[in-house]
Symmetry: C2
Subunit: 439 residues, 2 copies
Amino acid sequence: MDNKVTPKILPGFMELLPEEQILFNRIKDEIKNVYESFGFLPLDTPVIEYSEVLLAKAGGETEKQIYRFSKGDNDLALRFDLTVPLARYVAQRYNDLTFPFKRYQISKVYRGERPQKGRFREFYQCDIDIIGNTSLDIIYDAEIPAVIYNIFKRLELGDFTIKLNNRKILGGFFEYIGLSDKTADVLRIIDKIEKIGADNVKTELIKLGAGDNTRRIMDFVSISGTNAEKLEKLKSLGVENDTFNEGVSELEEVLGYIAMLGCDEKNFEIELTIARGLDYYTGTVYETFLNEYSALGSVCSGGRYDNLAEFYTKQKLPGVGVSIGLTRLFYQLREMEIIKPEAKTLVKALILPMDKSVTDFALSTASLLRSQGIPTDIYHENKGMKQKMKYANKTGVPYAIIIGENEVENGIVMLKNMNTGEQSAVRPTELANIIKGDN
Amino acid sequence: MDNKVTPKILPGFMELLPEEQILFNRIKDEIKNVYESFGFLPLDTPVIEYSEVLLAKAGGETEKQIYRFSKGDNDLALRFDLTVPLARYVAQRYNDLTFPFKRYQISKVYRGERPQKGRFREFYQCDIDIIGNTSLDIIYDAEIPAVIYNIFKRLELGDFTIKLNNRKILGGFFEYIGLSDKTADVLRIIDKIEKIGADNVKTELIKLGAGDNTRRIMDFVSISGTNAEKLEKLKSLGVENDTFNEGVSELEEVLGYIAMLGCDEKNFEIELTIARGLDYYTGTVYETFLNEYSALGSVCSGGRYDNLAEFYTKQKLPGVGVSIGLTRLFYQLREMEIIKPEAKTLVKALILPMDKSVTDFALSTASLLRSQGIPTDIYHENKGMKQKMKYANKTGVPYAIIIGENEVENGIVMLKNMNTGEQSAVRPTELANIIKGDN
């Protein structure tokens, strides 16, 4: 074998070293655990689906980015999100599911974007959705942000704010001022207020032809204060529009339920400029920001939609859900050093036999520890003790267990705390408690 | 939306209903936990790689089955196993890894096979490998089957047998009798002994031109008895070949270490007809069988190889590993009803508020339970109590918690054990202990 193939992966694909992977998995597991604690059921859909099915709705950017190919007579594509497969699944298995159907899926999705810093072509999405059959109580709109609240509490990434809005407020308001036909454009403009500032928004609105309504729109998006104050101001705008008023009362109700779910109100904020995807969300919408790192943008977004699976079934399936783009979030958190690897290994105890003669004792000690729930490894390579300790240091294991002939004779082992350097002679049966006690 | 797209997935792709998914995940988690308890580190490689990289070695069937496509200027393919990505990874990150490098990967792989019952185009492999730098102690050949032993003990699928052989025994033996050039053919024939019987093997060997050696080959593969007896018989064959003798002594050593690792010897059996992949394995090889369901074939196979990454690097990287084809195994176990769903939901407690007036109490009870580690759901739909109990039954939740105005006044809830039908009035703070006590 003289001609080697260069070992490399495609740009835009994340592949981690073990210590980074351990950290990534820890975060992924915490998200999963919170999802499960709220009663979401696991789902695992295929990565490859029929293009016809995946692209039933798509268009524009999505179609351009999709990985699409033929195999035999089939026109296939890789999933580009987890919502379309969910819609297909619920339509397909409608008769087998119990509604409200709450599912989570934590899986990789694929988008053939031009690779750039922080943009990935393969990335994990962590999705939850609650799907109703025909109808779905507004209280579920509070459950979703309560889940997100619990996740970000647990992840300890500092203060965070879940911003809420209701599309009906926006839609009703624009209907009332007679700008319904320009809703999409107006929303696109006011959505930029944080980025470009109020003055530029005003200019763009005038350019769009908002005319006399420009001031009213600006008054509307400038509503400030506490959540309660914002709600009061919305009510006192005198907007005589049913959709608008329904939106305001839904938003009020959702905030009430969020408090009842034990969430601290300070983490929730009404933000009237949030619109999210225009052709999809119809009620409550969410975005999540890390207060100290607002440059990251929203790290978790979603909302309420009227009809999950209209492209596949006549059943009306309203739902509410949210998605965490974990790969991107992880990348950003690492780049900004907000998180860092906590352990280079999952191993808690590394056994270092001094020579081959103690192998039996070393192996049975390892088995004992594993049976007591201590992830344990043994270093078997035929090296000197210095080399073995070097290996122990390099792997980052918290405890080394040194076994020589003396130890075997006395039925003990030498336990070394790799952080403090402390050594002590310990009976094998006592090891697990000491090692566990340190965690 | 009048024209609906039929919601369906490709044949050969497994997608489960929630109760099946819960069972699948439980098995996957047990495998992962045992892997981690032995100190294997997690790895998660991309699904899509450069075709040039993935196919550096491949040929024949693999190339035909691969999902391969272009995107932009790139010739891409989906991984068809986890070994090739591991080889690429170790070669690529050689300087960042500590050796012996022990990694596990539990991921989906892709093969565009003709779909048939029990054959999948997308399936999970659960791989472990231990990679040495230049050399790797023989004791690791015992660690791998010890891991497998612990997994199948935990999975409780009845008695199982891990069959072992050493390729050096086969290679050395054929060298000794002067049939080295026909090794591949002879191995292919004797590998079928369980399927076609000794007589047919003999006929095929004669047809191949084994001549006088046919009897010697048959004597060799017919060696029987306990592992110790088989080893004795192998030694007494009088084969004067270094490779052969090295193989016999390695096999003996490996069995000794397996016993030291606390594994019951009765689960391990020398089986001289096992050869596995011819161009890859070079020492110890394994296959695993469920004794009561031998028709399933080997459910976990692997072995020792000399050079993991020769297509990517000049570094000599010997290793030993094994793979569980989980999707296929799960399918077979379900088909034969060896396993069945244990729970329809992960939820332990379902709260049923009698009406909207008790929402606050219901939500705070849910939060309390979740904070105490009890996965909890609430049914919020505006239905009668009978409908709500029907929902509780349908979801298969073990406990329902009924809350009405009376309960709120008295600061209690009505806890119903859904299996026994038993009901009792309980303070919210006592719920977690009762529910946990039942698990």
